[in-house]
Amino acid sequence: MSDVSFTLIISALVFTVGACGVLLRRNPLVQFMSIELMLNAVNLALISFDGSVAKDKGEGQVFVLMVLTIAAAEAVVGLGIIVAIFRRRKRIDVDDIKVLKG
């Protein structure tokens, strides 16, 4: 198995774990951590490609920088929303927000 395949499998596994975390955990903060996991799995995949297939091009590294930045910004915004929502309610449970039910 080549290097790329190895890291890609790891990346896929980590992504899956993150996805399951988003779907199965009810605490919004844990969901956010899972989202970060997913983003970092993608970063891993990108770096591994940059190291093997697209050598000497540097595109993967640039892309990873952008993803990291966006992850950080998203975390800020998301945490702000969570704080705003849960100031009103006392419980921290994603399943409580059923306003769009129809």
């Binding site: 996805a19 988003v22 779907l23 994603v94 399943d95 927000i97 059923k98 039910k101």
Partner: protein, 754 residues
Amino acid sequence: MPELIGLVVLLPLLGFLTIALLGPKMSEKAAATLACAAVGLAFLAAVGAAVTPLVDKAAWPKYNLFNYDWTLAGSWRVQFGLVADPLSVTMALVVTGVGFLIHVYSVGYMTEQHHGETHFEKDYRRFFAYLNLFVFAMLLLVTANNFILLLIGWGNVGLASFLLIGFYKNKPSAVNAARKAFVMNSIGDVGILIGSFILIITTGQVAFDQVFASRELLTNSEATNWAALFLLVGAVAKSAQFPLQTWLPDAMEGPTPVSALIHAATMVTAGVYLITRAHPIFGVAQWAVIVIPIIGAFTAFYAATCALVQTDIKRVLAYSTMSQLGYMFMAAGVGAYEAAMFHLVTHAFFKALLFLSAGSVIHALGGEQNMFNMGGLRKAKELRVPWLGFLLGALALSGIPPLAGFFSKEAILGTFPLFGQTTSHYNPIGLAPTYLAIFGWVGIITAFMTAFYMFRAYMLVFEGPQGKLHPHNNPLSMNFPKLVLTLLTVVGGFLAMPGFWNFLTDWFKPIIKEVEFPEGGGVDASLNALKANKGELWYRIQTDKFEVVEIALGVGAGVAGIVLAVALYSYLRSQQAKRAVAVAAAANREEIIRPAATGTTRRDPRTQTVTPRAMSDEEIRDVISGKSEKRVVKPGSRAEALNYSDWRKKQNTMPNPGKLLANGLRAFLFYGWGFDLLYNLLFVWPAKLTARIFSRWLDPEVERAYDFGLGGLFWEGSKLFRKTQTGNIRNYGLAVLLGAVALVAYVIIQAAVR
């Protein structure tokens, strides 16, 4: 000034629109004046167009006046244009002239005078609006220069007829009659539509002169045959010929001016006009030469037989119109178009006169139409003008010289030599002399019957003892048109006197093409000659030969009919008078018990009769079982005049088969040979049944299927879809993830497959 024909068509249209749109704001008098003025001015314009050959010979006839492009589809060009030629101007003159007189008459007819205050008929203005609409549509029909515009006019006269027959819209019989007329006219509309379409498709042209001159038409005999058939269907429906004739007697439900205008003088003549206008088509379709006269002759005979036993005076005139139209069809079928048009014009005069006179009588008697309730009106001095009008109209219709009807009827009868002689100048195409002789004899017999029923009507209405009703006066507006028409009836015949001069040939010359028929005749040679001359089959009323035999027999038949009618009805009236005396005598006898009509129980001391209620039970039982010497008698019956022993003898005899036959025949003729019943059974009843089945059983099922089927699909489907809207964020996240996975899988598989 042939352009004046445009004004002829335009003025009634403007009149109609004005009265229809501004009606409520006008007074009734203003509406009537406007309507009469519109048609009167149109008449003057028609006269102006008619004098064109005297003033400006080069401009006559003009085929493409006021050409206005209606559609332009590739090479197919339909223009709305009018034609000013002898045929259309003749019809326009008749329509506007007679129409104007009838408008004036309606001013008086539709009002009632009660003790000096004028009381207008309800919907007075609507009536005049519809009359103007009708005149406009009829003028459009006769002045159109192409089939499309003709169709527009054709359909609109049917509409106007419907509106006017059903003018008393709250009367069920009138509404039914209007619907029946419209449905039958619609059958004719289908016919003329298909006929026009065949012609337009075959020739690619729409205007009359181009269609009839096109080469494709003459070579394609199948197309002309079918086109002639369908056009004939249209003509038959509009002119109430067999088999589409049942609407005309019922159309008398409309007010009398309507009957006079539409169903005597103008609309019903549209069929004859169509045949004359499209005569090249009918000339080339060889079967038409025999079928049209057959239809005409049969209808003439049929209508005359039905008119013999009618009780309503307007129905007599309706059947009479049907009969005279049959004559016109007979003439037009064999190509004697001058004779047909001549009869059309004179018939318009005297039939309108008859209808207006009858209408005056009806109006004066307060709406009574049953002739058997009238009588002795000749002596009424209020009804002098209607009496004169009716008498002269009846004489003209019977063909008595020197009135107009004589000349035109002889023109038609002269076309059919009675004893098989071949008149060299008429040279019948494809018609053996025997057929012509048959038509001639049918014409003579019908003329006899015509005279008989007209004078039967005259005797019943105007002669004899005075009936129960007392007439009141007729206003001048009603008398004036009748006087004008009387004058026209007397002098109008002199347009063409066979044997002396023929103004009509010169008048119609611009539209006649001379056809050289080979000497010696023969059907094939004549056919070839016709085809070579594009099917023009137009016979002139001859002036060099005087058909003595036919004329003499025609007049003889008329005179015989009159004499018979007068004699018979004088005899019947005298019998009636004698019976009245006997009844008066019998009234003094105690043996008669007259059932009281209204159920009063008063004992009448003058006649010494008792009513059943005043009798005791035993007496009544005795009378009914026949033990008593008294008898119950219907008032006015013949049994009333008999004494007791004669009455007893009558009671014990078998029914008289001769009397049964006579009564059966009378009923058969009264109900129009049963055609109403037949059509009711064949067409109306199945249609009504189908409609009932659909509306009661099938339609609700369809509605239910839509509600619970298609509607149910959406209902349940949406219920299903609603389940996805949980509001739970995690579910939405799952959906996003699944979608992404599907997308990636798709891309990978695509890449792998390639």
